[in-house]
């Protein structure tokens, strides 16, 4: 009855073989990230070697043909548009979640949630299309040229709102019912319960959602490209046309060569670095998966 583990058709051999193949596949899957980082570095290397990292943040402007690689105006544009969107979407998203959980009649909560889920599924080009044909002319009537930081912020808000709303909804659902019952038993009003009991309890989940949304906003390309105006300048007012890092890459990749192209890869690295930092922070706060 004792059988060697390695007889020809023994199941442990079959399993060992399968596990071998599966490990190769898993290794390949894990290697994709490594490959990406490697290639980004490889393509950035020519310009990094010559001028180093610091120039990318200290140069006055972005004119690669003249040897100027300042990312600062675009970084400001990226940060401003994402921050603005985060503030708006944070407020509206948490409010949406509160609406679904505490304020909406049951017949309204389900369709509202479905609507938010649908909103989440709309591709960025479609947001860009709508922004370009509806939002931008609207803003232009108020203050030309219309394609501006404001348009970017508004479109980004719509785009990251579902992320905030859905994660906040999950965080609110996780608040133990005992807290709500306890507050009700003490006669605390609905708004008081929400502000003093529920939101603090759901805080880490909501923050994780906000960080996730921030990452999305930073990485968004098409919609901001289509509505934000694409002038490389540090924004001084909401109505200035701006160009984000992402939009810059998308626009210039088509014709960039040599050091210009390498410079674009550097900006890609900077972008990825920022987003990874946010993802790490989100993991620490939320513990759940960093992508919804």
């Amino acid at each position: 009855m004792i059988w060697s583990k390695h007889s020809i058709s023994s199941p442990s051999r079959t399993d060992a073989r399968l596990a071998g193949w599966l490990s190769v596949a898993a290794g390949l899957a894990a290697a994709v990230l490594v490959l990406i980082v490697l290639f980004l570095l490889h393509e950035s290397w020519p310009v990094l070697k010559r001028i180093g990292w610091l120039r990318f943040f200290t140069d006055a402007a972005w004119h690669p043909s003249e040897g100027l690689f300042g990312l600062a105006p675009m970084l400001w544009a990226t940060l401003a548009s994402s921050a603005g969107a985060l503030v708006l979407a944070g407020g509206l998203g948490v409010a949406s979640a509160l609406f679904c959980r505490f304020y909406a009649p049951p017949s309204a909560a389900r369709p509202y949630r479905r609507m938010v889920a649908l909103l989440a599924g709309i591709p960025s080009v479609v947001f860009g299309l709508w922004g370009l044909t509806v939002l931008v002319p609207l803003i232009a009537r108020w203050q030309p040229p219309g394609a501006s930081l404001l348009a970017g912020i508004l479109i980004l808000t719509l785009m990251i709102l579902p992320t905030v709303a859905l994660t906040a909804d999950a965080a609110l659902a996780a608040v133990p019912k005992a807290y709500l019952h306890g507050a009700a038993a003490l006669g605390i009003s609905r708004s008081g319960t929400i502000l003093r009991v529920v939101l603090p309890a759901a805080r880490s989940g909501i923050i994780a959602g906000l960080l996730l949304a921030a990452g999305r906003a930073l990485g968004e390309t098409m919609a901001v490209l289509m509505v934000a105006g694409n002038v490389v300048q540090t924004p001084h007012s909401l109505f200035d046309p701006v160009r984000t890092l992402t939009a810059n890459i998308a626009l210039e990749m088509a014709y960039a060569t040599g050091e210009h192209r390498a410079g674009l890869f550097v900006s890609g690295l900077v972008l990825t670095g920022m987003i990874i930092l946010l993802a790490v922070a989100a993991l620490r706060f939320g513990g759940a998966r960093s992508h919804v």
Binding site: I2, S10, S12
Partner: protein, 288 residues
């Protein structure tokens, strides 16, 4: 009724039956051969830091039904899982000591666990038929173990289903899902599935506790019939059941260092004249 456990009935020809065989049983009414088939020496099972079983030494006799009794948490299920090395599947589980089945050390590292589990079948507390048809539930393991011929498969299918008393009930719906059967039928299907591999030992972990009383009675009767043809180890909380069907009983109890074996002996002795006070207290219902 005699049954020769002939391992070559359509099974994979690569099986080497030379080192161990169950000899042909004597004719006449099934009886218990007082010859130990399974010898357990100083068995200890722990899950990480938590000891489940400490230093158990026990013999299981061939062809007999041995009941493992005792309150919850005494390590009876851990004992059972060690006998077919299902403990391998639990992360962090450590098994120490010695277990010999038919003379073979089954804790040896180079043992083919799959062959062991053919010899030592297991029935779980909750019936777990696969989400396949009734036929495939029984045929799939047979095919995986090498039985290929349609005739052999059909013959085995009918034989084991008859043995568990299911044949008449399901012969017209063999291709329907097994999950559509009632709880008692599902458990009998699981027993049939295990018997199809022609094991010599059947380990059953509270096989009736998840079933309604009628189904429970049917399954219990079915298991009692296996006496003589198979060696059965049954974990049970139901003392009356143990008294009804078991030949031997092993009484487990929880101590600080983990579950331990308090007393083992012939059923009549354990229930009527136990040597240990704790055993007496437990079987009379005063403790546990």
């Amino acid at each position: 009724m005699t049954q020769t456990l002939d391992r070559h009935s359509g099974c994979s020809p690569s099986i080497d039956a030379g080192t161990y065989t169950v000899g042909p049983l004597q004719s006449g009414p099934p009886c218990c051969v007082p010859e130990p088939l399974i010898r357990v020496t100083n068995l200890s099972v722990s899950y990480g830091d938590h000891p489940a079983l400490k230093d158990v030494t026990l013999d299981i006799y061939k062809g007999c039904i041995t009941a493992l009794i005792g309150p919850s948490g005494c390590g009876k299920t851990s004992f059972l899982s060690a006998l077919n090395r299902l403990t391998d599947m639990i992360p962090g589980c450590r098994v120490e000591g010695g277990i010999r089945i038919g003379g073979q050390d089954i804790l040896a590292p180079r043992l083919d666990v799959s062959a062991l589990r053919r010899e030592v079948g297991m029935i779980f507390q909750k019936p777990n038929p696969f989400p396949l048809s009734i036929r495939r539930n029984i045929e799939m393991p047979l095919r995986e173990h090498g039985m290929k011929k349609r005739a052999d498969l059909d013959e085995t299918l009918e034989r084991v289903l008859t043995d568990v008393g299911l044949w008449a009930e399901v012969k017209d719906r063999l291709d329907k899902p097994a999950l559509a059967l009632s709880g008692g039928q599902q458990q009998r299907l699981c027993i049939a599935r295990a018997l199809a591999l022609a094991p010599s030992v059947l380990l059953t972990d509270e096989p009736c506790s998840a079933l309604d009383p009628i189904a429970s009675g049917i399954v219990e009767d079915m298991i009692a019939q296996l006496r003589g043809r198979y060696t059965v180890v049954i974990v049970t909380h139901n003392l009356a059941q143990a008294k009804r069907i078991a030949n031997y009983a092993a009484f487990f109890w929880l101590r600080e260092r983990g579950g331990t074996l308090v007393e083992f002996g012939h059923c009549r002795q354990i229930f009527e004249a136990p040597a240990h006070d704790l055993t007496a207290a437990y079987v009379s219902g005063m403790r546990g």
